[in-house]
Subunit: 197 residues, 2 copies
């Protein structure tokens, strides 16, 4: 998942994409804070807004590395979380060859590879917390559960630190639901081992 740059530092590029209102930007911030504040890595988190922002699409990018991060944008993503069909269609081609594609299975009907990880992210959010808005935290649980890009302890702390007052328990439940999904899935390693679609 991680790649080495010219100076030998590891670098993992993650893109979180969906519609406005799904909280993908906040998810990106939480992931970056988990890495940098609670896991002692470096992180850069970016939103780029062009004309597509007016159409309601939303996208966050996170680069996580052990060393200094020289270029702050995604070049070729290691991981894409797509929470809408538009996001999947737009960004799946910018994944690395063996990159990890995670989609919300009720939002994304068509995936470009049989190796995509389909998870009932928004449905689980509603079942667990009663609120679809926690789907972004469920997605973080799936992502971290599958990749271990940050530790579970770090993402739990980062989610709690960003949860609005009175919602810490609810958001923790959403995160744990995401971890559970990840454990029930074949796993990214297994998906990769299966080779190209």
């Amino acid at each position: 998942m991680t790649s080495k740059n010219g100076r030998g530092a590891s670098r993992t590029e993650i893109r979180l994409a969906g519609e406005g209102g799904q909280g993908m930007i906040l998810a990106g911030i939480i992931l970056a804070e988990a890495a940098a504040i609670y896991d002692d890595k470096n992180a850069v988190q970016t939103q780029s807004y062009g004309p597509e922002a007016r159409g309601g699409a939303s996208k966050a990018e996170v680069i996580i590395g052990e060393g200094e991060i020289d270029y702050p944008k995604v070049i070729s993503a290691d991981v894409l979380v797509a929470m809408s069909q538009e996001a999947c269609d737009k960004y799946a081609s910018a994944l690395k060859k063996n990159g990890l594609l995670i989609v919300d299975q009720e939002k994304v009907g068509r995936v470009p590879t049989t190796r995509a990880i389909k998870a009932p992210i928004t449905r689980l959010a509603v079942e667990t917390t009663g609120k679809a808005i926690t789907a972004n935290v469920v997605a973080l649980g799936v992502l971290v559960g599958l990749t271990q890009i940050v530790s579970r302890a770090a993402i739990e702390q980062a989610v709690a630190a960003r949860a609005p007052k009175g919602t810490v328990d609810m958001n923790r439940a959403a995160l744990l639901a995401g971890f559970d999904i990840a454990e029930q899935l074949p796993g990214w390693q297994a998906a990769r081992a299966a080779g190209p679609a």
Copy 2:
């Protein structure tokens, strides 16, 4: 305030810095969304987290341009909003020669130039809304009031769209308080006309 890159596109670099919990990252997101969603410009918004993140410092960068934004990070800031002494000490030297420095006058005692704009940002937030956490929105009001980097209508819409449920009026009041401060200040143009300190 804006500069031209090699392709003739305008580019304005803004850095918002303070302590964790002051909401500077959210302020950066709101400013970028004002530019891109409501004002038809392009914007990139970035957080870089290194070891200093563990110390509680917080920094957001926003690049706003008319055309495509080729490099997403601040090279030499046009505007710095410093909400803590540490933030001022750390980033003031990375301002452009005639850049705009806005500081919270009760948080920042020492400024490196007599041309700094000192505003009672957090005090006004508390007086206006009863909540210091709205200082980030007051700061946006001061910034936009002085620079017109985005329109007042755009920043009002962006603040409202990001305000937690039930706090739209409170956040609007904080923004207007920031506009008022800006109108009572000598203004950035006046400050620039005064020349180097």
